[in-house]
C-alpha cells in the first residue's frame, strides 16, 4: 500500500491545497484527531480550528473555518467554508474583525449574538494560527 495520504482542502473560493502528506491533524467537532495512511473510512464535521499536515520534516499549518472531512485509506478530503495557509492569513484584517465582533458583543444585540460570537472565534483562531511557530 502507498504510504502517503492525499490531502485536499477545497473551499467555494478554490482549491487550497492538493498534495501527498504523511500525517494530518484536524480539529473535529468532537475534538482533535490525527490521520495516518490506512485510516478507516471516516466522516466528521470540523469546527473553526487548525489543521496541520506533515510531510517528512516539513510541517504546514492551515486555518479551517467549519466544514467536513472525509477520510479514506489513502486520502483526506476537507470541504471547508474557508481555509488559508498560516502564512497567508491577513492578521491585520483578522484583528479588525475581532474588534468589530467584540463591539457587537458588547452592544449585546440579541439577534446577531451568535453571529458575532462566531466571528470573534474565527478572528481569534486566525490570529492564533498565524502566530504559531512551525515546530522544526
Amino acid at each position: 500500500m502507498e504510504n502517503k495520504l492525499k490531502l485536499e482542502i477545497v473551499t467555494p473560493y478554490g482549491l487550497v491545497v492538493s498534495e501527498d502528506v504523511d500525517e494530518v491533524l484536524c480539529t473535529g467537532s468532537e475534538g482533535e484527531f490525527g490521520v495516518l495512511p490506512g485510516h478507516a473510512d471516516f466522516v466528521t464535521t470540523l469546527k473553526i480550528g487548525m489543521l496541520t499536515s506533515k510531510k517528512g520534516n516539513e510541517t504546514k499549518i492551515y486555518f479551517v473555518n467549519w466544514g467536513y472531512a472525509e477520510v479514506g485509506t489513502d486520502k483526506i478530503t476537507v470541504l471547508a467554508d474557508s481555509a488559508e495557509r498560516s502564512e497567508d492569513i491577513d492578521v491585520e484584517r483578522a484583528k479588525a474583525a475581532m474588534k468589530r465582533a467584540e463591539e457587537r458583543l458588547r452592544k449585546n444585540a440579541e439577534s446577531d449574538f451568535n453571529k458575532a460570537e462566531a466571528a470573534l472565534e474565527r478572528a481569534a483562531t486566525r490570529i492564533q494560527v498565524a502566530q504559531l511557530k512551525i515546530p522544526k
Partner: protein
Amino acid sequence: MATLRDIKRRIKAVQSTSKITKAMKMVAAAKFRKAQQRMFEMRPYADRMASVLSSLAASADHEIHPLLKLRPRKNVEVLVITSDRGLCGAFNTNILRAAMNHISTLKKDGFEVGISTVGRKARDYYKRRGIQLRKSWTGISGRVAYSNVQEIASDIIESYINETIDEVILIYNEFKSVVAQKIIVTRLLPLSPIETKEELLSVDNFIYEPSKEEIFSSLLPKNVEIQIFRSLLESQASEEAARMSAMENATQAANDMINSLTLQFNKARQAAITKELMDIVGGVEALKG
C-alpha cells in the same frame, strides 16, 4: 434620393451606436472574466462535495433524512434561472423556451407544476403571461452572494420538507465556452439516485462523528446550497459571455452599416459634383455658341 445631409446624419447616428455597443462589449468582457474565475474556483468544491455525498449516500439508509426519502411525486417545482438585464442575445429566450417546454411536458404527465424564478427576465416573462409564480428573486445576477443562495435554498428545502413540493427541477445555462451555452435541466431534489457500487451497498463501513444523522442533516442542505450557487455562477458567466458576443455582433453590424452608408454618401457626393460640372460645361458651351 436621400440628400447628402441626411446620409451624413445617419452615419453619425450609427457611429454613436457602434461606440456604445463596443463599450458594452468591453464591460461584458471584464465582468465575464470575473464571473468565469469565480465559477472555476467553485467547481472543485462542488465536485468534491458531490463525490463525498455519493460515497456516503451509497451506504446510507434513505430513511435517515427527509431530503433522502423517496416519496411519490405530485407537485413539481421548476426553478428557472435567467439574468436581470437584457441585451444578451438569445440567452434568456432560449432558457425560457426550454422551461416552457419542460413545464408543458410535466403538466401533460399529470403533475402539478409550480414555478420559481431567479432574475428579472424570467419574472417578467411569466407575469406577462399571467402565470402565478411561487417565488421570485431578482437583483442577484451581477453579484451572486452566498447569502442569496442560502435564502433560496432554505426556502426550497423548507417547502420540500413540508411536502408542499415533491420534486425540484433546476433549469439554467451552463457555461461551455465563450460562444456556447448549454441549457441544463437537472433535478435538484430529491437527490438523484446515486449509482452505487455493489460491494458498498450491504455494509455501512463509515465511522460518523458526531453522528450519522447530524452529518446528513448539515451536509444535505449544504449540498443543495452548493448546487444552486454553482448554477447561479454558471448562469452568470454564460450571461456575460452571451452579452459579449451579442455586443460584438452588434458592433460588427453597425460597422457594416457605416461602410455601406459611406459608400452611398460618396456616390451621392460624386453625383452632385458631376452634375455641377455638367452645368458649368453646359453654360460655357452656351456662351461660346
